[in-house]
């Protein structure tokens, strides 16, 4: 995985993308390793899990707990990079009202859409296309070999017959039944299969020729996910890492929906016996654990998730990855500030070291600490970037400048942005 030491490799347009994202308060997922500091204990144990447990056939569900601005999304992005580096496929899905966890079939569609098998590749289509291309030499004009491969796909452990038939359909249409007179027919058949794999609704009539008997539904979505993992394993990946962000949206839902969602999560935890090579991370805010509408309201889930720690020591292997209880240390904040300064320099091709000097970064950190806001990483990032922006535009803050004012105005802006996000979007 890339690290802070590799910042110099960033191209100006990449560095600029990082800064633009951070200025808006979002996470530039592709570039997070360049400015990741702290939380190494969590990451060490997660890395150990990936290598020695998930990659060996294990399955696990964990919850990343942190308040707004604690860096949950950032942390998940780091896991994404770590997993890709370890040859896992990853899918990063943001849960919303439209993609709710109680409708796992909808979540499945998103999982497939957001599937990443490398830093560059996203979605299931390129993965399947790459696989078909790789077979060009060994399967063209060799129907027996196609049939043999089809059979071995069907026999993969955990593979659903429909899923296997969709892949076999791809193989047969690519290597056996090409309609040379009507190439567009081949394309439309392939499109049907792609759409089916992506969980879209296809008529039974269109699926019949491929011996696919059912479309994605509530009852088969988890089977299809298992089949996807079986396929990924067959392709040589270590497994699948699911990063499901913003589970807290559940709390605002009605009781019935909430209970179905909690039941679904419980099933995901309990069905780890049937599922292999998969790690699911949900991000949550502390309210999900503490409020009456949270996990507590559903005994069967609460008894699995509730913390058994005694308060002082953190179990880094525990079900909860409690970022809220492991805020960055002052030294780590300063490191983060230095990283951002270097990225800003590359983005706008200027020398920031003389304008934003180390003592100012340290002072910013100390002040935020005194104000009781040290855990708010997003606020710190915003404050640093606005200092850097001002300095780059010729308005260099001096070491005596009023840091409290600066932090407060940034905090106000963030509150305003949060409010704006909550406004209904009439034209969307």
């Amino acid at each position: 995985m890339k690290s802070q030491q590799d910042i110099a490799q960033l191209k100006p347009f990449q560095a600029r993308a990082v800064i633009e994202h951070l200025r808006k308060g979002s996470v530039p997922i592709e570039y997070v390793p360049f400015f990741t500091v702290g939380r190494t204990q969590w990451l060490t144990l997660i890395e150990d899990d990936l290598e020695n447990y998930i990659g060996q056939g294990g399955s696990k569900v964990r919850f990343i707990n942190g308040d707004y601005g604690d860096g949950k999304t950032h942390f998940m992005s780091v896991i994404q990079h770590l997993a890709l580096e370890k040859k896992f496929a990853v899918s990063f899905v943001v849960l919303t009202r439209e993609v709710p966890i109680h409708k796992f079939e909808v979540v499945y569609q998103q999982i497939v859409q957001q599937l990443r098998s490398s830093e560059e590749q996203s979605g299931l289509r390129p993965l399947v296309t790459q696989w078909l291309n790789s077979l060009e030499e060994s399967l063209t004009d060799k129907p027996d070999a196609v049939i043999a491969l089809t059979e071995s796909l069907r026999n993969l452990p955990g593979m659903n017959l429909n899923f296997a038939n969709a892949l076999s359909g791809m193989l047969e249409h690519r290597f056996m039944a090409k309609n040379l007179e009507h190439p567009e027919e081949n394309e439309s058949r392939q499109e049907i299969l792609f759409q089916w794999l992506e969980g879209q609704k296809i008529s039974k009539k269109d699926l019949q020729p491929f011996q696919i008997f059912e479309s994605l539904s509530k009852t088969n979505s988890k089977h299809l996910l298992r089949s996807l993992i079986a396929f990924l394993k067959y392709l040589g990946y270590q497994g699948l890492i699911l990063l499901l962000d913003e589970l807290e949206t559940i709390i605002a839902q009605g009781t019935a929906v909430r209970n179905s969602a909690y039941e679904n999560i419980r099933l995901l935890i309990d069905n780890t016996e049937q599922t292999e090579f998969m790690h699911i991370f949900f991000s949550i805010i502390p309210d999900v654990l503490s409020s009456e509408k949270g996990f507590k309201s559903y005994d069967a889930l609460w008894s699995r998730v509730r913390s058994v720690g005694e308060g002082k020591k953190l179990n880094y292997r525990g079900v909860l990855v409690d970022l809220h209880r492991t805020p960055l240390e002052t030294r780590e904040f300063v490191d983060l500030g230095l990283c951002l300064r270097q990225i800003h320099e590359i983005a706008y091709r200027w020398d920031a070291q003389n304008s934003i000097q180390n003592p100012l970064i340290e002072k910013l950190c100390e002040t935020q600490n005194k104000m009781g806001l040290l855990s708010e990483i997003r606020l710190f990032i915003k404050s640093i970037i606005s200092y850097l922006d001002m300095a780059e535009q010729g308005n260099v803050p001096d070491a005596q400048s009023d840091v409290i004012d600066h932090i407060t105005s940034n905090q106000r802006e963030m509150e305003q942005e949060k409010l704006e996000q909550l406004q209904p979007k009439w034209d969307s």
Binding site: Q56, G58, K218, T272, A300, R304, V308, Y316, V319
Partner: protein, 420 residues
């Protein structure tokens, strides 16, 4: 065999998997094998049921306990034990949304999907059945009628046809015949999976089913309707299958239902339906070789006790409103004498033993050496959680072991980083 030797027979991965699952509070087959307490009591209760099953009677066992007390763990133990005794097993989780009891066709499908055989290899039932039929006729030619004679009478017609079709070979056609209009629908590769789907409770179109049966030489399929609806035919199929398993050399069939309390979470009409079905399942007079095991929390029985059995449902019958009772009978009374197995809390001594066993498993799973004072720390941890549910206390022990192990691991990582 002592515990250390038992552990040595397990791979590090499986021990780690057991630890990971215990940490999440869910049962694990390895942990079930190595860590079941009150084994003798549980075995005795299961043996009573199995004896009844051997004599051709259905039997039931009700595992009752609160959340986190080890119901799923006990069910997994019973499943493992029954398999070791030569029984076929199926374990499912009842779920009011995805697997409600009143949709018995789905329950049947789930039971079929989760069939496990005593030899623990992955061969599916369909293959075993075909092999067994071939063995019965030892090289002689097999006809549909002869296969039919092996199938218990009480298996519904649809499934008798399907079972026969699964055991028969597809009619061989000449290349010329294959090109004729009459045999346009001849797709031999499809027949086996289609029959297997029907066997597992799925629905396929009548024409496809008819085609598969025709080419599999099941001549008698037209004799009765192939329709199966409602609870009865699927329950009969379960009973018939248990008899068939017995014929095939297994002890019978143990079906296990976890999360039984979910049946009481549905609305009143669904509850009424669920109670009716349970009554039929538990008090069936039909001969069968089924032991059904249900796990319930106390909530289920409290609900059954607190139902208003005098409640009337007002229906319009012609011009007159007609009052009928909501519930067919007072189930609280009817089920008072059920054979319940109450899970009991472990004694302090049993907890100490468990802590020691867990330590041995954890150190093997994560490849570390436990410090001398660890057992004392675990004992202290147990003292602090007296009165808590079993699952929570067990999680506490795993947590303590994790803390000790990770402290060592992170120390090593830091010193390595410092050196480099």
């Amino acid at each position: 065999m002592n515990f250390q030797s038992q552990i040595n027979q397990e791979s590090s991965f499986h021990l780690r998997q057991a630890m990971e699952r215990l940490r999440e509070g869910i049962f694990d087959p390895v942990a079930v094998r190595l860590l079941t307490a009150h084994e003798d009591r549980l075995q005795a209760a299961v043996n009573v049921g199995l004896q009844q099953v051997s004599s051709g009677k259905s039997a039931q066992l009700f595992v009752r306990g609160s959340y986190g007390q080890g119901k799923s763990h006990s069910l997994a133990y019973i499943q493992d034990y029954a398999q070791r005794q030569g029984y076929v097993t199926s374990m499912i989780n009842l779920d009011p949304r995805e697997l409600p009891l009143h949709q018995f066709k789905l329950v049947y499908g789930a039971l079929m999907e989760n069939l496990k055989f005593p030899d623990r290899n992955d061969t599916v039932f369909e293959k075993r059945w075909k092999q067994w039929v071939e063995q019965q006729f030892a090289g002689k030619s097999i006809t549909a009628e002869s296969v039919k004679s092996l199938i218990p009478e009480n298996i519904p017609h649809l499934f008798r046809c399907v079972l026969t079709g699964l055991a028969m070979n597809t009619v061989a056609l000449t290349s010329k015949q294959k090109t004729t209009k009459k045999h346009m629908a001849y797709r031999p590769r499809e027949f086996s999976p289609q029959l297997a789907r029907v066997f597992r409770g799925e629905t396929i179109s009548y024409s496809r089913l008819q085609r598969a049966l025709k080419y599999r030489q099941v001549d008698f399929y037209r004799e009765q309707s192939l329709v199966c609806r409602g609870f009865e035919p699927y329950w009969q199929m379960l009973q018939g299958l248990s008899e068939l398993f017995r014929k095939m050399g297994y002890g019978g069939w143990v079906i296990l239902f976890d999360e039984g309390e979910s049946m009481a979470q549905a609305n009143i009409s669904m509850r009424n339906r669920n109670y009716q079905l349970l009554q039929q399942i538990w008090f069936s007079e039909q001969p069968a070789h089924i032991l059904s095991v249900f796990a319930f929390t106390d909530d289920f029985f409290h609900k059954v006790e607190s139902e208003d059995y005098d409640r009337q449902l007002l229906r319009q019958q012609g011009e007159e409103p007609l009052e009928t009772p909501y519930f067919e009978q007072n189930y609280a009374q009817a089920w008072r004498s059920l054979n319940q197995f109450h899970l009991q809390a472990l004694t302090a001594r049993e907890w100490d033993d468990l802590a020691e066993k867990l330590t041995m498993m954890h150190t093997r799973a994560y490849d570390w050496s436990a410090p001398d004072q660890l057992q004392e720390l675990l004992r202290e941890r147990l003292k602090k959680s007296v009165g808590e549910e079993t699952r929570y206390r067990l999680k506490g022990l795993v947590d303590q072991l994790d803390l000790e192990q990770q402290a060592l691991m992170l120390k090593n990582v830091t010193s390595k980083a410092n050196r480099s």
